[in-house]
Subunit: 347 residues, 2 copies
DNA sequence: CCTGGCACTCAGAAAGCGGGAGTGCTAAGA
DNA sequence: TCTTAGCACTCCCGCTTTCTGAGTGCCAGG
């Protein structure tokens, strides 16, 4: 870890803050004026020269000011950044958004929009994989003779549903019975567990299994299979906010970035990475390891249900983002979401 | 309506097709070569001059080729365009996408992604308002003493759900009973209808109403209320495809366009407009009436459930899109979706 | 070790300059 | 009367040139 004189630190901090504020390379003169430093531009130039040697800042070209490098940003967030608490108004407006009695799935999805709105960057949310959750109940509902609606409820209140087309018509009574048998057998076990049992049950296909239960198993298996290949567990909102940043307006890069938002693969990996440890994590530029994100920084924080990390929320923006503000917001959001999802929580 | 000599029509058609293909203003010489015309560039220039007077084409500047105006495009799609059927391969790949046993809601949502993939433009989908649909069944499921999951199933197989927090704990048996009573009273009626009755029931709050039914009404009312203020009924996908078109790469316009995708207000109005009549509709540039869309064309088609128009699918792209292809795709998609959503449909 | 001074560098804007694509017009030919 | 070849003209585009100003590095004096 680099160590700097207090003066150099102060200067670096001022420089980065200035650059974050207006995106222009900052020169010695402006820096002195803006930060109200008590030494001269020439001195500042000397110090900046040192900082450049350390790889913390660089000039885009000979006679421009200096710009932070990724290392500079990293040093900044690691040791210079004082994360100041959000003002109470921001806090209140965030809290408001978690007071609704929403279906948890929808609440989670809405968080990406929330984050993008308050940060004016792109918000992302990693939705929990449902496999580990407990299975609560299965219902069959006849829509028409050939179409049966299967509703599967998990213990955390998430609901999955799917229309299936059984090979022969079933009466409502038969369906009811099938559901009862099924629920009796599996209620309370984890989805993963149920899934494994189902696969085994289908393979063995034992004679002693009642016809109706086998149908239930088949149907439910379809639902699980659908869940498996299912929708991407990642939501992105507010991509268009990023168009406001000139440093991201290179069309080719922009396209790559937006493609990454659509493909979701890279982001998903990044968010999975951030699920292993608690608290806010920050990936600056190439640190993420993904080319499409090399002009961006990503700030993430995992959220929990009943003490167990199940997903991640985050924000994607240009490297020159207001880290202090963004960090506070992401952190608070993750905690509010955890609170809203955990049991024993009153509405 | 303008009327043109057959030669002029042929020329205009060739010019627009050429311009759609490569986005460059097209001059008399290239036009002769490209379209294999049997007259000379000079003649072409004369005809182009006429077309320009009619406002169908224009030069961006003195010595560039010609570019279609909106009027030109309009004439093109109205009278010159022979919508050729899609090749069987495209048809097959589209049809494939509608064969899955999906929850209708999800199927509808996925169509915007489908459209954006096959057209390489932005796909949009207007989701049905649910109020008119018939109500099928309500279920209460106890998640914890203070949290009850309400599951509402509509006759078209759509499922809405929401966690509510009743004022006092209810036993599973009570909940079951409430659901039974409720379903007995309302099953088969339209959501709109149920909603109205609920409001009335709550107001009157009659003594003869059993306590448990009243709770059911209250809970269900919460669900309906949630549905009311509910999520935006519009889905957009593949916005990033539009970044590939240089004519849309003006940052300011792009930003407006993407903001329109996020705000959804304008698009929603446009799609509602297109729901009033059947078949494909095309809005070229300013025809849509929305500033953000003035560099774009929008192609839409409504889809139906059991003969009733309930929503719209569409595509947003630059004015120079392959109208024939896009029209075919949007049309077919709308029809496949209608088929997949209508009853009596085998899987 | 700080600071004023000074020469130097270089991006970016403004200006100048072909080259070339494409036009409109005219006059001759069918 | 319609078509076509010819030709002068226009004006965008890409190129180079020039100029300016912001900012630097370095030196020498405090």
């Amino acid at each position: 870890m680099v160590s700097l004189t207090p003066r150099a630190e102060r200067l670096l901090k001022a420089l980065i803050e200035q650059y974050i504020a207006d995106g222009q390379p900052v020169g010695s003169r402006t820096l002195v004026k803006q930060a109200g430093l008590e030494f001269s531009p020439a001195t500042v130039r000397n110090i900046m020269s040192d900082l450049e040697e350390l790889g913390l800042i660089r000039s885009p070209h000979t006679s421009a000011g200096r710009v932070p490098t990724e290392r500079g940003y990293r040093f900044f967030v690691n040791t210079l950044l004082a994360v100041k608490p959000l003002n109470t108004q921001d806090v209140a407006s965030l809290e408001d958004r978690f007071l609704t009695d929403q279906d948890p799935q929808q609440l989670i999805e809405s968080v990406s929009g929330l984050l993008s709105q308050v940060t004016r960057l792109a918000g992302i949310v990693r939705v929990p994989r449902r496999a580990g959750v407990g299975f609560l109940q299965l219902d069959f509902l006849s829509l028409s003779p050939t179409r049966v609606l299967v509703i599967l409820v998990a213990q955390d209140g998430q609901v999955m549903n799917r229309v299936i087309h059984p090979k022969r018509p079933y009466s409502p009574a038969e369906l009811q019975q099938a559901a009862n048998v099924f629920n009796g057998a599996y209620s309370g076990r984890s989805l993963e567990d149920v899934r494994r049992s189902l696969v085994k049950a289908l393979r063995r296909d034992s004679e002693d299994m009642q016809q109706i239960l086998r149908s239930a198993v088949e149907m439910a298996h379809q639902v699980f299979a659908g869940d498996e290949r299912g929708e991407s567990p990642l939501f992105v909102s507010g991509e268009s906010n990023l168009l406001a940043f000139p440093e991201l307006s290179d069309t080719e890069k922009l396209r790559r970035l937006f493609d990454a938002f659509t493909a979701k693969q890279d982001l998903l990996h990044l968010l999975d990475q951030s699920m292993v440890s608690q608290g806010v994590q920050i990936f600056i530029g190439a640190e993420s390891g993904y080319e499409a994100l090399e002009s961006c920084s990503v700030v993430t924080a995992p959220y929990e249900v009943d003490g167990q990390i199940v997903g991640t929320v985050g924000v994607v923006g240009p490297k020159r983002m207001s880290y202090d503000r963004v960090i506070s917001i992401v952190d608070l959001t993750a905690r509010l979401l955890s609170g809203a999802l955990s049991h024993g929580q009153a509405g």
